[in-house]
């Protein structure tokens, strides 16, 4: 999941990057195209303009020569006057730096070589000299030969004029024919090319653009600068008449420099943007992950709370009926925690025919309350394992809890000990709400206003008592019941609770009804307090009697047997003897089964069939089989008569069957009387 999300994020960044880049590339391409087109236009325009300017000068030079042709022809007959023609050409045409009319050798016998040359010297004065020298040998010069060969005007290759100021020059030469059409001379005009450099130098369309001009034969007339951009756009044009090639070279950096700078800036901005997107995504993903981690944490805590609830619930007895083998107790209990774990508790267990039970409510809720609840429950179990008095149990619990109470939590607590053999209830209340006693009527159990547990060590807790009669019930609860609130913050209250408790039902039915009433009352309103109920219904059975090992309890046995005989089909006069047999058997257990001074119990169950009434006497004392005892001799004389042994003898005499069994750690004696 997490990988997938990262992948998605990555994909998103990738797509964004592609989109941005594509836009940039398209934009760049079109901008570049536009710039290139503009450069081309500008370059071509400049080139054309420059070409015209050059042409203009060339035209001037050519015109200067052509315009002098007629007069030169006219002067051919008088060659010495030709120097004046040359002078005129130079004088009348500013662009012409020098001019000559060179006779074709042999045209005139008198002047085999004749070439007057007029030129402007550095002062601007026009001077004349002759080119017909042996060193120069003008007939072999290009400017002379070429036009004669071609029969038309010819522009020479540029050259450096050694005599005339080291200037770069070129010469236009035109063949000159006489009236008969014979090639007679070559008439020329020299022009300086210094202006050319200046002219093309003016083509500063771009700051680093430059122009080169080369001649027909490839001589460079205007050379490129030494430092030049290797990537450049080159625009060419040429001047047909002179054979010059003009190139305008524009470095790409001049054309696209701005675009490239802008592109770089845009690229950087895009990168920054992408980086920001990535960072945002990352932080988003991290946040997402943190959120999911929180979710996981929450799940884990919920899971742990569930486990804690399980542990807490396993601390309180929650199998109902809790004592299925007993029919004198009908009990049920419930805890409904408001949060996952709560601070309420109940507990109960039976030791030596005494039912120890308690209900408590820890101040506060949730895990801290649950921990205190666990400690309270453990302390209760530990102390009541050896202590019978609820007052002393509560006092010791208070000392324990106060000593370790650093969190200032306290526990309201009710502890009761019900003697199941006689229904005697002793109890001690530590600040808890009084339980309800359900006898014929319903009333609060009178309780002392003792402090809750954990407030002050060394407190005295007053113990109270009450006889608990057959069919009496006690209803213990925490204030989570009466203070359960509905959506409009009304409390369930004691009246509703009492109403729900009316009538006689099983303990579980009572609890279900009360829980149902609360649930119906509160509806969906969330509950802020735990709700705990413990219901104990005491129904000492006519069919079972449990006595402690106290001879003083024999009258209860007598009453029990009386009842049993009444309910059986035995004649009334059988009662006395059955009483006697049972008393003998039970007395025997009371006096001898348990070590002297220790508590123990004896249980008498009565059962009947259509033909028999039988009593089962059970105790947990040391193994003892009364039937194994030797028969007493009832015919012995006074002196031989032993004091003991009469009991079992009477039992055998009265009952029709006497059987002993050792069941586990229990002695079981079964006495049966037939009808």
């Amino acid at each position: 999941m997490r990988k997938l999300r990262n992948l998605k994020a990555l994909l998103l960044v990738f797509v964004a990057a592609i989109a941005l880049e594509a836009t940039a590339v398209v934009q760049f391409y079109y901008s570049q195209k536009g710039l290139r087109e503009e450069a081309e236009l500008r370059a071509e325009g400049e080139l054309e303009a420059t070409r015209y300017e050059i042409m203009d000068i060339i035209d001037q030079a050519e015109a200067a020569v052509r315009n002098s042709v007629w007069i030169a022809q006219w002067c051919l007959d008088n060659p010495d006057s030709l120097h004046r023609v040359c002078q005129r050409i130079v004088a009348d045409n500013p662009v012409v730096a020098g001019s000559t009319i060179a006779l074709v050798p042999g045209y005139r016998k008198d002047k085999p070589l004749f070439s007057p040359y007029a030129f402007k010297d550095t002062d601007g004065a026009i001077k004349v000299l002759s080119l017909a020298t042996e060193e120069y040998d003008y007939p072999s010069q290009e400017w002379f030969k070429k036009p004669l060969e071609l029969g038309e005007g010819y522009w020479s290759e540029p050259y450096v004029d050694e005599g005339g100021g080291e200037m770069l020059m070129t010469t236009y030469s035109l063949p000159l024919r006489d009236a008969k059409g014979t090639s007679a001379a070559v008439i020329t005009a020299d022009i300086s090319l210094e202006w050319l450099k200046e002219l093309v130098g003016r083509m500063n369309v771009y700051p680093n653009a430059f122009c080169t001009v080369s001649s027909r034969e490839g001589h460079v007339m205007v050379s490129p600068p030494e430092e030049r951009d290797p990537k450049s756009l080159v625009f060419n044009t040429s001047i047909a008449r002179t054979g010059w090639a003009i190139s305008l070279v524009i470095p790409e950096s001049d054309i696209f420099g701005v675009l490239r700078r802008v592109g770089t800036i845009v690229g950087i901005l895009q990168l920054i943007g992408l980086l920001i997107i990535i960072l945002m995504l990352q932080s988003f993903i991290r946040g997402e992950r943190r959120y999911r981690n929180l979710d996981k944490q929450r799940e884990r805590i919920a899971g742990e709370l569930q486990i804690a609830t399980g542990i807490q619930m396993s601390m309180v007895p929650k199998t109902f009926p809790p004592f299925p083998e007993r029919d004198d107790l009908d009990m049920a209990a419930t805890i409904v925690p408001a949060k996952e774990v709560g601070g309420d508790l109940y507990d109960f267990f039976i030791r030596n025919e005494k039912l120890f039970f308690c209900v408590g409510d820890v101040s506060g809720k949730g895990v801290p309350a649950a921990l205190v609840m666990a400690v309270t429950r453990t302390t209760f179990r530990n102390l009541s394992a050896r202590e019978d008095s609820p007052g002393r149990i509560v006092r010791a619990m208070n000392d324990n809890l106060s000593a370790m109470n650093e969190s200032d939590m306290f526990v309201t607590f009710f502890c009761g000990v019900l003697d199941l053999t006689n229904g005697h209830l002793r109890y001690c209340n530590a600040g808890h709400n009084p339980p309800l006693v359900l006898t014929d009527a319903m009333r609060d159990l009178p309780v002392e206003p003792n402090l809750p547990l954990g407030v002050l060590p060394g407190m005295e807790f007053k113990e109270q008592e009450m006889p608990f009669c057959f069919d009496d019930a006690i209803f213990l609860y925490t204030d989570g019941l009466t203070e359960a609130e509905n959506a409009v913050h009304e409390q369930f209250g004691e009246d509703r609770m009492r109403d729900a408790l009316h009538g006689r039902k099983s303990a579980q039915d009572h609890i279900d009804k009360v829980k149902g009433a609360v649930a119906a009352f509160v509806g969906d309103a969330p509950q802020s307090d735990d709700l705990t109920i413990l219901f104990i219904h005491y129904v000492p059975s006519a069919h079972r009697l449990v006595l402690s090992n106290d001879i003083g309890q024999i009258p209860r046995l007598t009453a029990f047997v009386e009842e049993a005989v009444k309910m059986s089909k035995l004649p009334a006069n059988a009662q006395g003897s059955l009483n006697l047999a049972l008393e003998e058997a039970v007395t025997n257990v009371m006096l001898y089964a348990y070590p002297e001074g220790t508590e123990g119990s004896v249980t008498i169950d009565v059962g009947s069939t259509s033909r028999t009434l039988s009593f089962t006497i059970t105790d947990s004392g040391k193994p003892f089989d009364p039937t194994a005892r030797e028969e007493v001799d009832i015919n012995a004389g006074v002196d031989e008569r032993p004091i003991g042994g009469l009991g079992i003898h009477l039992i055998r005499q009265i009952m029709d069957d006497v059987r002993y069994e050792r069941r586990g750690d229990k002695n079981v004696l079964i006495l049966t009387k037939n009808y």
Partner: protein, 100 residues
């Protein structure tokens, strides 16, 4: 359970009233055992108002009877109801006492 002892010239009479079960026997044992002092003469155990007796009660009777045997006195058990007579019968006590 109540035990009333009347000492006459010729005999000592103990009136046993109520149920002589185990707890009662423990309770009245000192009183009945004191009859051993009179065992040289005639001791009457009046059972007209005795409702019930258990082996513990029988033991008290036997103690008195043994003392009388030792001192050569008589022990008369008087006025037993059928239940008690039945117990005496079952235990062979009818043979140990003079029954009236």
């Amino acid at each position: 359970m109540e035990v009333k002892i009347e000492r006459g010239n010729a005999e000592v009479t103990a009136f046993l009233i109520g149920r002589l079960d185990t707890p009662a026997s423990l309770e009245v044992a000192p009183k009945i055992n004191s009859l051993a002092d009179d065992a040289g003469g005639t001791v009457v155990l009046d059972c007209k108002e005795l409702d019930y007796i258990s082996s513990s009660g029988l033991r008290l009777f036997l103690t008195v009877r043994k003392a009388a045997a030792a001192k050569g006195g008589r022990v008369i058990v008087r006025g037993m109801n059928p239940d008690i007579r039945n117990v005496f019968m079952m235990t062979g006590f009818l043979n140990l006492f003079e029954i009236q």
